[in-house]
Amino acid sequence: MNDETLLTTELSRRADAIAGAPLTFESVRGRAHGIRRRRRTRAAAVVAAAVALAVIVPTVLSGGSGGSDGIEPAPAPPTAPGSSVLHDGALTLPDGDTVQVDVDNADVSQMGVLTDGRIVVAMLQPRAVRVYGPDGSLDEQYPVEADVITMSAGGDAVAWVAKDLTVQVLASGAAEPATLPAIPMPGQASGGIDAVVDAQHLLVGDHTTTTGILTPDGVEDLATSKPFRVIDVSPSGDLWAVAFMPTVEHEQYGCSGLYDPEAGEVVAQRCDTPGLQFSPDGRHLLSLAGDNNMYGEALMFDRDLTQVGRFSPEGETVVVSRAGWSDPTHLVVGVTDWQTSRWSLVRVGLDGSDPEVVGPEAPGRNPETIAEYIVSA
């Protein structure tokens, strides 16, 4: 008996011993109705979030109060979708559904998922943005200037700088990206998209400072109380996470803060919180500090930038590779041992305790060069 025959025999023997209670048509149909209800609820939540963004954000950008003398009920804060995770050719969505995507993480720099289900991947090789359908089939590939995409907080739009330096914005539900003017820069340099407020309003700059608001009509200067680069926008648009220019005292990461665009002021600031990312409900932020494509720990903060949690993987050589918010109170974290190149995925609560392994440890590639688990932007 060879190894293959042995496998066939043993699998058949194990399987033949299984005799479960037969499922009835009613039980299957009942679960199908539950799945359908969840899908509808999810779709409705996404639409509600998109509508709330569309209403709130332009008001914030224009500096208006948005209110009236009458008493209006406070709108529920919009909640953005949680992160998806790309690993070994499979994209796991926040609800647990999985889509096969024929791409190697070694070729991927960033990935995002639009609310219409399409998957947008910034590719290192070839340098391009790829758009995959909700079923994982490749829809289109666009040549780009830089392998970077910027997603809106609600996941209803994604933007990138095209090879001809124009800005492309692909909105959820739109077949093709819309073309916006190039970001004004000296010479042949290309600007950067710091945030996508919605498909019509992008915050842009020179990669160190956010300097303007790009719309289909062109760029308007952005006046802020002090220079910074916007690195994330809360789902409701009421706060921006920003990075200040590094100083001599804080040379490595610089300082970060939260900026209220309506009030035009920085409302919180710290110097140990690089890369701030808002949670899907905008109530908390995640910060990752590190280098060589890895991070020592994940830190969680509230909207005053008071630390509320910390996740530091166990083991001297075990570090965080990528992390994002799986829902408003949990992180999903790709963890790796940089000495052995073994990888796992864990789900962690807001306070960083009780990590739950959701992707068992397995060998992978060098974490200095790739991320075996890529968390959606």
Binding site: L11, D16, G20, I35, D97, T98
Partner: protein, 176 residues
């Protein structure tokens, strides 16, 4: 009952026993297998009109089962969902006919990464070709080959030497 539901019920009755066995091999746990099968069949029911016309219902269900089982968060939920004080039902009992070889093989299968395990189950239990396995899993034939090769290597490495097929074969030859 509509014709559509009658068709689906007929399929359910005819195929669920076999599909449950596949689900068991994918999960290694009968409770999880039953849950996995029910969810997969529910998704099949929602897509029934589209799928039955294409005549590849089994392939569609297998793909759903594999994807569901590979789903990372779902695995986390399942751990909590099945927490119980009750003693789990016994695994299939095996006699000593093979001196523990079967148990050693099963241990190896159960510790394979989910995707590699799916490849093994589809290739060696469902008897799918490499191309059919690749199609079901949405991966390349090359990946199927490499996953299979790694699984067989793990089997050789982790099966006690005295139980390995090659060792037993050479022993038998020596005895002759």
């Amino acid at each position: 009952m509509t014709d559509r539901d009658a068709d689906f019920t007929a399929y359910l009755q005819a195929r669920q026993a076999r599909l449950l066995r596949t689900a068991y091999l994918l999960t290694g746990d009968q409770h999880q297998a039953e849950d996995l099968l029910q969810t997969s069949l529910a998704k099949l029911y929602l897509a029934w009109d589209k799928v039955r016309d294409h005549g590849s219902v089994d392939a569609y269900v297998r793909r759903i089962m594999v994807n569901e089982n590979n789903s990372l968060w779902r695995r986390g939920w399942k751990k909590r969902e099945f927490a119980t004080d009750e003693v789990p039902e016994g695994r299939p009992v095996h006699d000593r006919y093979d001196e523990g070889l079967g148990a050693a093989v099963w241990d190896v299968v159960q510790t394979l990464p989910r995707k590699a395990r799916a490849v093994v189950v589809l290739r060696y239990y469902e008897q799918l070709s490499e191309a059919e396995t690749a199609d079901t899993l949405g991966i390349s034939v090359g990946t199927v080959k490499s996953q299979t090769s790694r699984a067989l290597a793990a089997l050789r490495e982790r099966t006690p030497v005295e139980l390995s097929p090659s060792h037993r074969q050479s022993n038998r030859e020596e005895e002759r």
